[in-house]
């Protein structure tokens, strides 16, 4: 059903809107909606959830992997397990790494992880790649750049597909981070899709957001995505040994000067050559400095509030949409769409009508 809709939209050259992508959180109030006729399974799944949460807290890697899959698959066991883990989260420092394809994000994350390990920290990595809008499948290849980390018991890497989410992360990324946090990882690196779309979602998920640029991908100021300054805590110019690196740095500097904030955190620009491990120590140092800044300035607690609010609203939005979609009669929806398209009804009225039906 969903596939057909998305495929049709794509063939017409339009992007499948977020509303049509299936929302994830339909879990807590399972009694509502036609989908959840199987109330009987709730208690065994609660036991299962408890066991999973215990396994994560006991440091069982397979339990961690399993729970992340259940979150991704929207399984009923996921939410209760997450609820049990929630008190054990909030300790890890979450570092988002975003940037266009070809900037070397995976290599950079791999090197940062190695650097963190050398400093005695345990590391979690969540690497997100896009799902195919046509088949829903994906090829997740970020581990290629992190091969030598696979044998290290202090590192846990998880690849995720976006599964219809358009903001650079998948709907389940935030919860996967929480699982790794409760699992006891000190620092968690999150690598976004980096398809050049609007990737502000990472800033609403991470404590420190790194925006990666590289020379040769468009060196002038216009080519650097507008809006990155709003999300970047640290700017990285990777592949700094290549021609044009200085121009990229200069362009970023100019942008920073134009946007100069009189006080607060000033995003530094760090040059790296990730394949050779150059500049990684300096970058790692800036991450620590930003973390300290958050603590000392009191921004940390504000940020926590902010992230909590963002997350709450996200869940509300998704749950509401899910509930509306569960209740919807497809024929009725088609009729409404028809009416809107034929100008018999305006979309605001139609939407209000639908929402009112659900909230009643």
């Amino acid at each position: 059903m969903e596939v057909a809709t998305e495929e049709r939209l794509n063939k017409e050259g339009r992007r499948a809107g977020p509303v049509l992508a299936k929302p994830r959180y339909i879990t807590q109030n399972q009694s509502i909606g036609a989908k959840n006729s199987s109330q009987a399974i709730i208690s065994p799944s609660l036991a299962e959830s408890r066991e999973l949460a215990d396994r994560v807290l006991a440091g069982d890697r397979r339990g961690v992997a399993r729970l992340i899959s259940l979150i991704e698959d929207d399984s009923p066991e996921a939410c209760p397990a997450l609820a049990l883990l929630y008190p054990h989260t909030g300790r890890a420092h979450v570092v988002g790494v975003t940037g266009a394809p070809g900037t070397g994000k995976s290599t950079l994350v791999g090197q940062l992880a190695r650097e963190s390990r050398q400093r005695g920290l345990t590391v979690g990595i969540v690497a997100v790649d896009p799902s195919s809008p046509f088949s829903g499948g994906a090829i997740l290849g970020d581990r290629i750049r992190m091969q030598e980390l696979t044998g290290d018991p202090g590192v846990f890497i998880r690849s995720m597909a976006t599964r219809g989410s358009l903001g650079g992360l998948s709907y389940a990324t935030g919860d996967a981070i929480k699982v790794l946090d409760a699992f006891g990882k000190d620092i968690i690196y999150v690598e976004t899709v980096g398809v050049g779309q609007d990737e502000v979602e990472i800033a609403a998920t991470a404590h420190t957001t790194i925006v990666v640029q590289a020379p040769g991908l468009g060196d002038d100021i216009q080519a650097i995505k507008a809006g990155i300054l709003e999300i970047a805590d640290i700017l990285v110019v990777n592949k700094a040994d290549q021609e044009g690196a200085e121009r990229t740095v200069a362009a970023l500097q100019l942008m920073l000067e134009l946007n100069h904030q009189p006080q607060g955190w000033q995003p530094p620009i760090i040059k790296t050559v990730a394949v050779e491990g150059k500049g990684i120590e300096a970058l790692s140092h800036e991450i620590s400095r930003h973390r300290d800044y958050l603590q000392v300035s009191g921004r940390a607690s504000l940020l926590r509030q902010h992230l909590a609010e963002e997350e709450l609203w996200n869940i509300i939005r998704k749950t509401l949409v899910a509930r509306i979609m569960d209740k919807l009669d497809r024929a009725e929806l088609d009729q409404l769409i028809h009416d809107i398209a034929d100008r018999r009804l305006d979309p605001h009225t139609a939407a209000n009508k639908l929402i009112a039906q659900i909230l009643e």
């Binding site: 995976s106 290849g141 290629i144």
Partner: protein, 559 residues
């Protein structure tokens, strides 16, 4: 070729033919497909006529064999003078076993040797390295030290026969071992003839058997050019290879374009070092695939010669006609072989080999029918070699030079191939050259795309592969496979242990230090490799020094 009047006449008669004869015919019996395509998915027309080669200029585009632009062949008399070298790629297990196979092949009329090395050797690891586990002798012969090389060529007249060695990442070191082994037997290096594959660019593009990042790898290649032009005038210091690019899924045009682009990149790198083009270009050789589509392959070889001659002459200003020659080895397409009904592979190989010969190859390897299943058995290899001999002596195609020239279809296809190759040159140029294109995953993406399309066409039955998606039989293959000496790995490990115990370890340390020093500097590494292997430093030890000095490489993730 034709005057305007004739062309117009042909044009109108052709339109009439389509309108009358063809149209009526199609009504009665439609054609088998809407579109007919080559192995590379290039559409082929119903009929080719002079209209398809209107702008063709015989003297400019073809000329004469042995003369610029060499479309009809690099040698003046081609196979009337000397047949191509029948060179069967062989190697497995220990040096002793492969030495025996070499002697078997020479005894059956083979005229040149071609060595296949095992995976650890190709990656610069000794047999006793942890990385080598389970890989010993599987895809070729293991050569870890000079002692193995001496055994491998024991009793083989290296001063009379030419030897081709398929080795890339550690090519310079294996070459040093060959030189050292010959010199120990009293054969001076200047008398040695043969080829090292030494084509690292196609490893990044297709086969992925690289050791170091592109830059130091290119330096090693240019070191061998420089050394060879000074000391081994009969040696081909590189075999610029499209074979593996094709096997990785490329179309004929991609194979040719990427290979020639690699060739031009090597020329540029050597010029940048300060070498004179006519000093090294005559020793450059090529290696192409012969796939199923008969005419497409022949067109590819002919276009290859013409483009290379033009580029070396016009772009780089080479004066020596030998620098303009594109000489090439051909191997029939391993990826075209089927595990199902393997005997059919004999026929495929024969057709492919015929294309290579009609395309003017200088040497040829014909695959054995069992190679989709395992390493070839003696019987299978003999049939493959006999295939070449039958083409050479019974088919009659060697009686005259370039017998297909002037075929409207073939000439049109040759021209089309050439045009499309230049389109790719332009794309690669725009990306900043071959190495930049590698780093950006350009080639990898092109290959993954073509390989997937080919597979889709088979599964959609838009193309028929006998025994795979049509004419399928259920019987399991019943050809006897090669048995290797189960004691081989132990023997090899023993020899390696003996070498390490008996050699002068001080000399090893000293020569390895010299390699390290040279690697960090600018000097040509070849003399240092020869010193080190003569002291019985092993391949793994030398490569470890280089890995430390040069670093490792990991490719961008592309599918």
């Amino acid at each position: 070729m034709f005057d305007r009047e004739t062309i117009e006449e042909i044009r109108s008669r052709r339109s009439a033919w389509e309108a009358d004869t063809i149209k009526g015919n199609l009504k009665k019996s439609p054609e088998r497909r809407d579109v007919f395509i080559t192995t590379s998915s290039v559409p082929v027309e119903r009929l080719y006529t002079p209209l398809d080669v209107q702008d063709w200029d015989y003297l400019r585009d073809l000329g004469f064999p042995g003369e610029y632009p060499f479309t009809r062949g690099v040698q003046a008399t081609m196979y009337r003078g000397k047949l191509w070298t029948m060179r069967m790629f062989a190697g497995f297990g220990t040096a002793e076993e492969t030495n025996a196979r070499f002697k078997y092949l020479l005894g059956h009329g083979e005229t040149g040797l071609s060595v296949a090395f095992d995976m650890p050797t190709l990656y610069g690891y000794d047999t006793d390295d942890a990385e080598a586990e389970g890989e010993f002798g599987k895809c070729g012969v293991a050569v870890s030290s000079l002692a193995d090389m001496e055994t491998l060529f024991d009793g083989i007249p290296v001063d009379k026969i030419t030897t081709s060695m398929t080795i890339n990442g550690p090519a310079a070191i294996i070459w040093a071992m060959y030189i050292a082994a010959a010199e120990k037997r009293g054969v001076p290096r200047a008398k040695l003839g043969g080829t090292i594959q030494n084509d690292i660019l196609k490893e990044y593009i297709a086969q992925k058997e690289y050791l170091f990042p592109p830059e130091p790898s290119m330096r090693l290649v240019v070191d061998t050019f420089e050394f060879g032009s000074r000391e081994l005038p009969l040696w081909n210091t590189i075999s610029i290879s499209g074979y593996h690019i094709r096997e990785a899924g490329a179309t004929a045009v991609q194979e040719l374009a990427f290979t020639l682009a690699d060739g031009l990149a090597y020329v540029q790198a050597a010029l940048d070092r300060g070498l004179g083009i006519d000093d090294f270009a005559p020793r450059l050789s090529f290696f192409f695939n012969a796939h199923n589509d008969f005419f497409e392959e022949i067109a590819k070889y002919r276009a290859a010669r013409r483009i290379w001659a033009r580029e070396t002459k016009e772009r780089f200003g080479a004066r020596n006609p030998r620098s303009w020659w594109l000489r090439f080895h051909t191997q029939t397409a391993g990826c075209s072989l089927t595990a199902q009904q393997p005997e059919n592979n004999v026929v495929r190989t024969a057709i492919q080999a015929l294309a290579a010969v009609l395309g003017g190859t200088q040497s040829l390897h014909t695959n054995s029918m069992d190679e989709a299943l395992a390493l070839p058995s003696e019987t299978a290899v003999r049939i493959a070699l006999r295939t070449q001999q039958i083409i050479a002596h019974e088919s009659g195609v060697t009686n005259t030079i370039d017998p297909l020239a002037g075929s409207y279809f073939l000439e049109a296809l040759t021209n089309q191939t050439e045009r499309e190759v230049y389109d790719y040159f332009e794309k690669i140029e725009k990306l900043g050259g071959v190495i930049k294109a590698i780093e950006r995953g350009f080639f990898q993406r092109e290959l993954a795309e073509s390989a997937s399309r080919y597979q889709r066409e088979i599964e959609a039955r838009e193309r028929t592969i006998v025994g795979i998606n049509d004419y399928v039989t259920e019987e399991p293959p019943s050809i006897p496979l090669l048995r290797m000496d189960p004691e081989g790995e132990r023997k090899q490990r023993d020899r390696l242990a003996r070498v390490r115990a008996e050699r002068d370890n001080e000399a090893v340390a000293r020569t390895l230090e010299a390699v390290r020093h040279a690697a960090q500097g600018q000097e040509n590494l070849m003399p240092h490799f020869i010193d080190a292997v003569k002291a019985y430093a092993t391949l793994g030890e030398i490569c470890d020094v280089l890995r430390e000095a040069f670093g490792l490489y990991r490719e961008p993730a592309i599918w």
